[in-house]
Subunit: 208 residues, 2 copies
DNA sequence: TGTACATCAGTGAACGCGCGTTCACTGATGTAC
DNA sequence: TGTACATCAGTGAACGCGCGTTCACTGATGTAC
């Protein structure tokens, strides 16, 4: 190949990360991927791997960082798109499901990583989820949608929301990405879960 | 070894399954385990594996079956131990956490398998969780604790409860099994999640 | 009860293969003058 | 603008090793008579 070298800085790095996600998207588990396998999928020689990553764990950690960016993009869109208060849940789940479909392999990686082999990746993903829950609580406070709840109780509810949404991905793992009907069912179910949680949060103070 | 053969029927089978769980308990992911590795851990020659399992996937499926037994034992205990209605949630979470600690590796395997590599194991675990949710709904109906809810809405609430409890395991993965304080925190948090869900379910009909 | 035979769980040697990792290399790009 | 040099991403050969799987074997247990 005449033009194989230094074409774009770290083009190969992206190819390797994408290759790992592609393999996850094909049903493989990240923990069972090997260096040679990933480089093969990326169309790159095995030794090129070490120019960018020290190990598969290292690659996993860098994927978590990118996952963080994807989630921040999702939050930004959700914020710029606030409908009337009653529709907020439904609309948020819409946005969430759309991003989940557009970045399917990222979220599959997330679902795997939560119980994955690397402690560092586990903790990284948990940290992203905590951040997401904290931002959600902030937004609800700012919009005065939960003013009767104490900070602690709002955090509790938001944590539960984020867990419920994260669990949705293990549902999505069992469904073809083109199966619109099933995905629609998951979406509706998730919306109802969140509604139930927020009804619970609304009546929380008075009962406990 | 003089007494190495046919000592107990399928003693080796149990050793192999336990060995796989032990490795999971040490932080390994099931998807990355190999046959030689498991047999080494079990103190058995590699070829012995094939006397009992066709592949690691096969072993995983048989672990799911045993997981089902563990869960049924847990349900039985919860049923035989019904306190006053207000304490039912707390008491159930108690029982659940105790079984989780006694069978830590089983539930770690469950958390991994939900997003694991084998479709069959994934589906098996999902099926166990569905069964668990359905039994929970039945019990609540029988105890007349949810008589104002339609069957569909009660199923919804129970599904959400089971998901929340299942997610608890990914919390436990990040905590040492001896860290009583942290486990206590997880337990209290889970109890509050369930209370919030049931308060939501109680007010569900009137608001939706 | 004793004997002959079938069954089959566990053994140990052997195979070919793909793995992770090392190394010296090459040649395009960026920088100094 | 042109030249000399340093940098470093990607290459390809090579290594030793552990992997999954096969095979013929052995000998304890269960069964038939």
């Amino acid at each position: 190949m005449a033009d194989r070298k230094r074409r774009n800085p770290s083009e190969t790095r992206d190819k390797l990360m994408t290759a790992a996600l592609d393999l996850v998207g094909k049903g493989r588990h990240f923990a069972s991927l090997g260096i040679r396998e990933v480089t093969r999928q990326a169309g790159v020689v095995p030794t090129a791997f070490y120019r960018h990553f020290r190990s598969m764990d290292d690659l996993g950690l860098q994927l978590v960082d990118e996952l963080g960016l994807v989630m921040r993009r999702m939050m930004r869109e959700a914020r710029s798109n606030v409908p009337q208060a009653e529709k907020i849940m439904e609309e948020s789940v819409n946005i969430f499901i759309r991003h989940a479909r557009d970045n399917r392999t990222f979220f599959m990686f997330m679902a795997q990583g939560l119980a994955g082999e690397s402690r560092a990746v586990q903790e990284g993903i948990r940290s992203e989820l905590r951040f997401f829950a904290a931002e959600l609580a902030n937004d609800l406070r700012r919009l005065r949608l939960a003013s009767h709840l104490s900070d602690g109780d709002l955090d509790l509810a938001c944590d539960l929301v984020v867990r419920t949404v994260a669990f949705t991905f293990t549902d999505m793992l069992g469904v073809s990405p083109d199966d619109d009907y099933q995905i629609d069912q998951i979406q509706k179910r998730t919306t109802r879960f969140l509604q139930m949680i927020f009804i619970g949060a609304n009546h929380w103070q008075s009962e406990s």
